[in-house]
């Protein structure tokens, strides 16, 4: 009886090993799931959250932000700094500085939701790289946008 168990153990063990080998062989001949970045890129999910970015007004091209500061107030990590100024000919303030400390940001999205002007959105920028941390400690979100203040 013991001998039978011994032999049966060997046989069932071998069979289970063969099953495992079949699985890995099937894996090997099937298509790899990897995407060869940067030559290929995987499609980003529709609601991907990169760092926040400033939206521009369609008409003027100026930033939509009027520096109310609600984003800076609601931010749990206190990583947003906003300064605004009133241009002479308009009633609303316009942001002149909008700095994001991305080293602290946890991408919670409260700023995006709280913005009354709907000026903030998530970017789709995922391949961030830099040489030093200061590049991400003070990210200037107004960069590249037109400004009403010409210096």
């Amino acid at each position: 009886m013991n001998g039978y168990r011994y032999l049966a153990g060997i046989v069932t063990g071998s069979v289970s090993l063969l099953k495992g080998m079949r699985v890995t062989f099937a894996n090997m001949v099937s298509r790899p799931h990897t995407v060869q970045w940067p030559r290929q890129t995987a499609p980003l999910p529709a609601r991907f959250r990169g760092h926040i970015r400033m939206l521009a007004d369609e008409e003027t091209g100026f930033p939509r932000c009027f520096a109310c500061g609600s984003c800076a107030r609601i931010c749990p990590s206190a990583c947003i700094t906003v300064q605004g100024r009133k241009p002479g000919d308009r009633k609303k303030k316009v942001a002149v500085r909008f700095l994001l400390d991305f080293t602290k940001c946890s991408l919670c999205g409260l700023c995006v939701e709280s913005c009354p002007a709907r000026a903030l959105a998530f970017s789709r920028d995922y391949a961030l790289a830099g040489y030093r941390d200061t590049e991400f400690r003070t990210m200037d979100l107004l960069e590249g946008l037109a400004s009403p203040f010409q210096f």
């Binding site: 060997i10 090993l17 495992g20 080998m21 699985v23 890995t24 062989f25 894996n27 090997m28 001949v29 099937s30 298509r31 790899p32 799931h33 990897t34 060869q36």
Partner: protein
């Protein structure tokens, strides 16, 4: 002393080329097989499909610094990679890879290869003790416990084949399989042999002396740069020798239809190496007591029974 100097130099160069090229190809193949079994590609960047990746890595390793730990036993530490590499060059000598492709036809070639295969453990032991590191020492001790468990079944396998072929010469053994490969007569023995060479070459699921997840890197934990690459070279060369032996003992060596001999040799050999890689990326590592159980209580009785039955059949 009648061998001409040109022949000696040619064979030395040839064996060195086989050792080096084989390691380059096997490292690449291993990474490719591993990758594809994980739904990955493996190396793709250097050369077509990453073929030159190993060369790039080798050059990188050459440029690195070879560190000897302060507490290490310096002579043993330095000797270990050499001890594990040198026997390979001797063990390659009697291996026939083709009808005429053989450095030296030796009538005890099989014994020589098996005896030198044992020196591998000695290199591991030296490295383990020389490093003065507890993980390395554990790796070395495990290698010793391991060799005791697998050597007897391995020798029994070889003995059975010797009995069937009636010769210790690798060439004669291959030639004896002209009409039928021994794997057809001895399928069980082939399985036992494959398991024991997996044990002998220290490969997963039996890589106890290396065991990344338990011993970090086991016996070669303290080795950097060239020392590390020599161990790598030795490991893959031992795989080559073990697989070559398997192809000669069970698959008729270089014999096969249509293709020339060396091609058949390499096909069979790399087929067996692929099998070993397949094992490595499929099976989890055993516990050491499970390995001892496998060696002493399963492989040994099976090999013994097989040996006795074969002897009985041959005597009839």
């Amino acid at each position: 002393m009648s061998i001409s100097p040109v022949t000696i130099v040619c064979y030395l160069l040839g064996i060195s080329a086989v050792v080096g090229l084989n390691a380059v190809i096997l490292v690449w193949l291993e990474r490719k097989v591993a990758g594809h079994m994980h739904f990955r590609y493996g190396p793709m960047e250097v050369g077509p499909h990453g073929l030159l990746q190993t060369l790039a890595d080798g050059i990188k390793l050459l440029g690195k610094q070879f560190l000897v730990p302060d507490a290490a036993d310096r002579p043993l530490f330095l000797l270990a990679p050499v001890v594990s590499l040198v026997p390979i060059f001797v063990a390659m000598v009697p291996l026939p890879l083709g009808e005429t492709l053989q450095a030296w036809e030796l009538n005890i070639g099989l014994l020589l290869v098996v005896a030198l295969g044992l020196l591998n453990t000695l290199g591991i032991l030296l490295a383990g003790w020389g490093s003065n590191n507890k993980y390395a020492l554990l790796g070395g001790s495990r290698a010793v416990a391991q060799i005791l468990a697998y050597k007897i079944p391995l020798l029994l396998c070889i003995l059975t084949i010797i009995m069937m072929a009636g010769s210790y010469s690798l060439r004669q053994i291959a030639l004896a399989q002209k009409d039928g490969w021994y794997i057809l007569y001895q399928p069980l023995l082939f399985i036992i042999y494959i398991v024991t060479i997996t044990l002998e070459t220290n490969r997963s699921p039996f890589d106890f002396s290396e065991a990344e997840s338990e011993l970090v890197a086991g016996f070669h934990i303290e080795y950097s740069a060239m020392g590390f690459s020599l161990f790598f070279l030795a490991e893959y060369s031992y795989m080559f020798i073990a697989a070559a032996l398997a192809s000669i003992l069970f698959l008729g060596g270089w014999q096969g239809p249509f293709l020339p001999g060396p091609v058949w040799s390499l096909l069979k050999l790399y087929g067996i190496i692929f099998l070993l890689m397949w094992f490595r990326w499929t099976f989890p590592r055993l516990r050491i007591d499970q390995m001892l159980h496998l060696g002493w209580k399963i492989l040994l009785p099976l090999a013994l029974v097989n040996f006795l039955v074969t002897a009985g059949v041959l005597a009839l």
